[in-house]
């Protein structure tokens, strides 16, 4: 049966291979019936230990922004066999992790692409992965069997990206290319017929080569070369090239940014964050210069390859960077981990694309303007500024209740549909006895509620309450998803020219230095130290004191 391709370009064909583009991702069942269709450029939601950080299942399902999910496998290596491989059924990942096969497409990767920590070297036949019990070596054959059991919608072939200290030698890069090619061939190779393993659908390949344009070209060219005879028997239905078996291309930006800043720090010795609460990627920043360098590297990879396969970007660090990659490359699925990380450190996103013509807003303070005249991308709700701020999280979006009121405010603002800005009372409530209906007789189900106030989230952040991050995670994912909707609209409506104009307007309106992030991170760390560190042991004492004789062993 011929199922549809994973990706279809929509809209008017581009003059060249690069430039802003819209498309559609179709996830089909084995029988070809459609499960999920998403328009691109689109958001790829990051997960940690199999869950969207801070979101319980009901909140994941309330967050309509979540369609594409990136699932790093490595946290599950702390048990052998990994528990994900023990789940029965046709959609084991969805079943186990609580995602909806009709709404959520899962992309399985071995490593968390935002994790840039130093790792022991990879070998000729293994990748070093990280789990709570330490480093685990994962061989291509192990990966293939995991994938075969997990049946993800999309899967990224193993890739040899060194996380040993930079710089990496020419020899190392050559090795990286050889291994990555071999490992891709391995996952595409259909095994012996008596095994119950089938070739995974939708294999994505990470385009290797690091920050060497030549190495990247070489890797890409290897993908398009006729397959060597010795590989051919296993690669059926016959593939003429490895690229024939590839459904899309992945770019991990984290190691590239790390290499850029390693180069920069040789001249400018800025210390890296020596704090276990911080990730190496937290301090990565973008600029027009880093984007130029990235675009050059991505072009080197994509030049030999066809244009009609989706391009997936992991760990971009700002919306500015995303816009420039959409403009200069044409990228299709973009990881939102930076916006999710912002929810960790107390930031509520408040920006739009295309940039609103009037950034003032009568009833909600807009983000602060920096000395360069550019606005912050959101609000650091740790800031004392928000102690008395009763407005909704984002000034450039309306809340659901105001929008639906009899006299809607005359802003013409789009509505933020997240559960913080447009909360609804539950559609139903659990009744625990036959008299409970009396308690809910007067309560309307599924009614819009007033938006969450900034002052409330400010309070929750300072009291180290987890609900703050749940609200911010839902909001930030929704704001980022709306950003991509804006990107698609501008491309569809005005094509390349208008898109370029809008990117320029965005760059002149919003601050890319992200000073807001540094401030929020500092305040977050303060509260984390005051209330987070030693919190568990303090609570353990409390619990022991309150449960004499019946204490649970913690």
């Amino acid at each position: 049966m011929a199922s549809r391709p994973l990706f279809t370009l929509t809209g008017s064909p581009l003059a060249g291979k690069y430039g802003p583009r819209t498309g559609r991702i179709d996830i089909d069942r084995q029988d070809g019936t459609s499960i999920l269709q998403t328009d691109t450029p689109a958001l790829l939601t990051a997960t940690s230990r199999g869950v969207v950080p801070h979101l319980s299942r009901d909140n994941v399902h309330l967050t309509k922004a979540i369609h594409h999910i990136q699932l790093p496998f490595e946290s599950f290596l702390d048990r052998n066999p990994p528990v994900l491989t023990l789940v029965e059924g046709t959609q084991p990942l969805h079943t186990f992790l609580g995602f909806d096969p009709n709404k959520h497409a899962i992309t399985l990767t071995l490593r968390d692409p935002s994790d840039g920590r130093k790792m022991p070297p990879n070998g000729n036949d293994f990748v070093s992965a990280h789990c709570t019990r330490g480093v685990r070596k994962v061989s291509p054959s192990a990966w293939k069997s995991y994938v075969s059991k997990c049946k993800p919608d999309l899967v990224v072939a193993l890739s040899d990206t060194p996380f040993t200290p930079a710089p990496h030698s020419q020899k190392r890069l050559t090795k990286s290319i050889e291994r990555s090619i071999a490992w891709l061939a391995d996952i595409l190779r259909v095994p012996l017929p008596d095994e119950a393993i089938t070739r995974p659908r939708n294999v994505l390949v990470h385009l290797a080569g690091g920050v060497e344009a030549e190495a990247r070209s070489e890797f890409a060219e290897r993908l398009t070369e006729p397959i060597e005879q010795r590989d051919a028997p296993g690669l059926s239905p016959p593939l003429n090239t490895l690229d024939d078996g590839v459904a899309g291309y992945v770019f991990d930006l984290q190691p590239l940014h790390a290499a850029f800043s390693a180069e920069a720090s040789r001249t400018n010795s800025s210390p890296s964050p020596a704090n276990e609460l911080l990730h190496s990627s937290d301090r990565q920043r973008s600029s027009p210069e880093t984007s130029i360098a990235l675009v050059e590297l991505l072009h080197a990879s994509l030049d030999p390859l066809p244009a009609d396969k989706p391009r997936i970007i992991n760990s971009p660090v700002s919306p500015h960077e995303i816009l420039r990659l959409v403009r200069d490359i044409g990228v299709d699925l973009i990881d939102g981990s930076w916006a999710q990380r912002a929810a960790d450190i107390g930031i509520a996103l408040d920006f739009r694309f295309p940039t609103p013509t009037d950034t003032s807003c009568a009833n909600a303070p807009v983000p602060r303007a920096r000395a360069n005249g550019k606005r912050d991308l959101g609000h650091n709700l740790f800031d004392a500024l928000y102690r008395h701020d009763r407005s909704r999280l984002a000034s450039c979006f309306l809340d659901g209740q105001s929008a639906s009121s009899a006299v809607p405010p005359p802003h013409g603002l789009p509505v933020c549909e997240c559960h913080a800005c447009s909360p609804r009372s539950p559609a139903s409530r659990i009744l625990h006895s036959s008299v409970d209906s009396q308690a809910w007789a007067d309560v309307r189900p599924y009614a819009l509620q007033p938006p969450v106030m900034r002052s409330y989230v400010h309070h929750l952040l300072h009291t180290h309450e987890m609900s703050s991050h749940a609200l911010l995670a839902m909001h930030n994912l929704t704001a980022l998803s709306r950003f991509f909707a804006g990107v698609r609209e501008v491309i569809a409506r005005g094509g390349q020219e208008e898109f370029e104009r809008e990117v320029e307007r965005f760059e002149t309106t919003y601050d890319e230095g992200m000073a807001l992030w540094d401030e929020a991170e500092r305040m977050w760390l303060e509260v984390e130290r005051a209330r987070g560190k030693g919190r568990l042991s303090r609570e353990r004492e409390k619990q022991a004191a309150s449960m004499i004789g019946t204490a649970v062993d913690l």
């Binding site: 230990r49 199999g50 869950v51 969207v52 950080p53 801070h54 979101l55 319980s56 299942r57 009901d58 909140n59 946290s75 048990r79 528990v83 186990f96 609580g98 102690r387 008395h388 909360p423 609804r424 009372s425 539950p426 409530r429 659990i430 009744l431 625990h432 006895s433 036959s434 008299v435 409970d436 009396q438 308690a439 809910w440 007789a441 007067d442 309560v443 509620q449 007033p450 002052s455 409330y456 400010h458 309070h459 929750l460 300072h462 009291t463 309450e465 987890m466 609900s467 991050h469 749940a470 609200l471 609570e539 353990r540 619990q543 309150s546 004789g549 019946t550 204490a551 649970v552 062993d553």
Partner: protein, 415 residues
């Protein structure tokens, strides 16, 4: 407040009632989850409502520090601030003053303590406590009481009891003059330590003020006293308190404690236990608590509890996934918190159902049989329920009785 008893157990002192407050109707007996800082740990107010919970507790001491009364007033009260449309109860702040501050000194005027902001001596008077609770705007507010640790003996206990009675009068006067007494309901707190004669004196005094209080709490317990003394104090108070006022047992949260209290005539209880223990990975079930961090759950594809209607179990979340995420992802704490609150609500909802249908004694027997099973019943529960006509051991000659508290918990992988 409208308070109506709908049904009484034919054997025990348990009863089902309907309590209408400014933010709706709550069916009693009920367990009240604690939102110390104006949020049930990790959840949104809509998630709490979905669990079938419509009465929660905020802590006055904490909210007075953060966000502060000014912010709450600007927001239009704590309900609006936290987006909670249903019933809310605040404590008086006195308990935390004593438990969280080493420097608190009780005088007749009020509780003198070092301000956490600047260390300056600050006085929390009964009037001030009520005034703060007015700004918070909870549907049920508590009098300021003179709290002494449960295990205190000697004249201090009697002094605290009488002072609590005097402070009740000051709270009543301030509350009635404020004009808030039609929307906020003041509860008295019965003190008197573990001494029956002091409890009796306190009950007498407080019952004479019945027309000016909406309900009664039983305070000064859950501080490490022997359970066999605990239940006798609860019984003594519940037996004396007026039929037409709700009775609230403060700081009670273990399932067996809840059911014993309900059988003795208690209508409301609160505790941080189910939400706190959830953050450590412990899920409550009818067959006893599960420590989901133990290795034996790592590949267990069952939900926490089959047939549980909570969002966690009904969406198929497995013990294996919770083992993978507990204490490492906040989302695991949320999932177990949702389950544990539903567990508490089911224990109490099941009690309501059984009382309505006249089967509460059997409900108690079934619960203890499932919850403790062969591990043995806590002796104090057996004694307490026998005092209201339920013999848990009837027809169970082989059931062990464990002296002391005897709760069955998962301790280790070996369990």
């Amino acid at each position: 407040m409208q308070f109506e008893v709908l049904a009484k157990c034919h054997t025990t002192r348990a009863r089902v009632s309907r309590m209408r407050l400014a933010h709706g109707v709550t069916m009693l007996p009920t367990f009240m989850p604690v939102a110390t800082q104006a949020a049930i740990k990790g959840l949104t107010p809509q998630q709490v409502e979905a669990l079938g919970v419509n009465l929660i507790l905020n802590n006055t001491y904490h909210l007075n520090l953060r966000p502060g009364i000014e912010v709450l007033k600007e927001a239009g009260g704590a309900h609006k601030f936290q987006g909670w449309n249903h019933n809310l109860l605040t404590d008086s702040g006195g308990f935390q003053l004593v438990s969280l501050s080493k420097f608190t000194k009780i005088t007749e005027e009020g509780a003198l303590f070092a301000s956490p902001f600047d260390g300056e001596p600050t006085m929390l008077t009964p009037e001030e406590s009520i005034s703060i609770q007015h700004a918070i705007g909870a549907d049920i507010i508590m009098q300021l009481d003179d709290v002494v640790p449960s295990l205190t003996v000697g004249p201090r206990v009697e002094e605290a009891m009488w002072r609590t009675v005097r402070w009740l009068d000051r709270c009543i006067n301030f509350h009635q003059k404020s004009g808030r007494d039609d929307v906020q309901n003041l509860f008295a707190i019965v003190q008197g330590g573990l001494e029956p004669d002091l409890r009796d004196k306190c009950l007498d005094e407080m019952i004479t003020r019945k027309d000016r209080v909406a309900g009664y709490a039983i305070g000064g317990l859950s501080g490490g006293e022997e359970k066999d003394i605990f239940w006798r104090v609860i019984k003594q108070c519940a037996d004396s308190l007026p039929e037409d006022r709700p009775r609230y047992s403060m700081g009670i949260g273990f399932a067996e404690d809840l059911l014993v209290c309900v059988a003795l005539g208690v209508d409301m209880a609160d505790c941080v236990f189910p939400t706190r223990t959830a953050r450590f990975g412990v899920a409550l079930t009818r067959n006893g608590p599960l420590n989901l961090r133990l290795g034996k759950h790592a590949t267990d594809m069952r939900p926490i509890e089959e047939g549980c209607p909570c969002p966690t179990c009904s969406s198929g979340t497995t013990r294996a996934l919770l083992n993978h995420t507990a204490t490492l992802e906040t989302a695991a704490a949320h999932a177990i918190t949702q389950h544990n609150l539903v567990f508490q609500a089911r224990v109490m909802g099941g009690a309501r159902e059984a009382i309505m249908s006249g089967t509460f004694p059997q409900y108690l027997k079934d619960f203890f049989s499932n919850y403790f099973g062969d591990a043995g019943y806590p002796g104090w529960c057996v004694n307490a329920l026998k005092s209201v006509g339920v013999d848990l051991l009837e027809g169970r000659p082989d059931t062990k009785v464990i002296p002391g508290d005897g709760a069955k918990w998962e301790y280790s992988d070996a369990a």
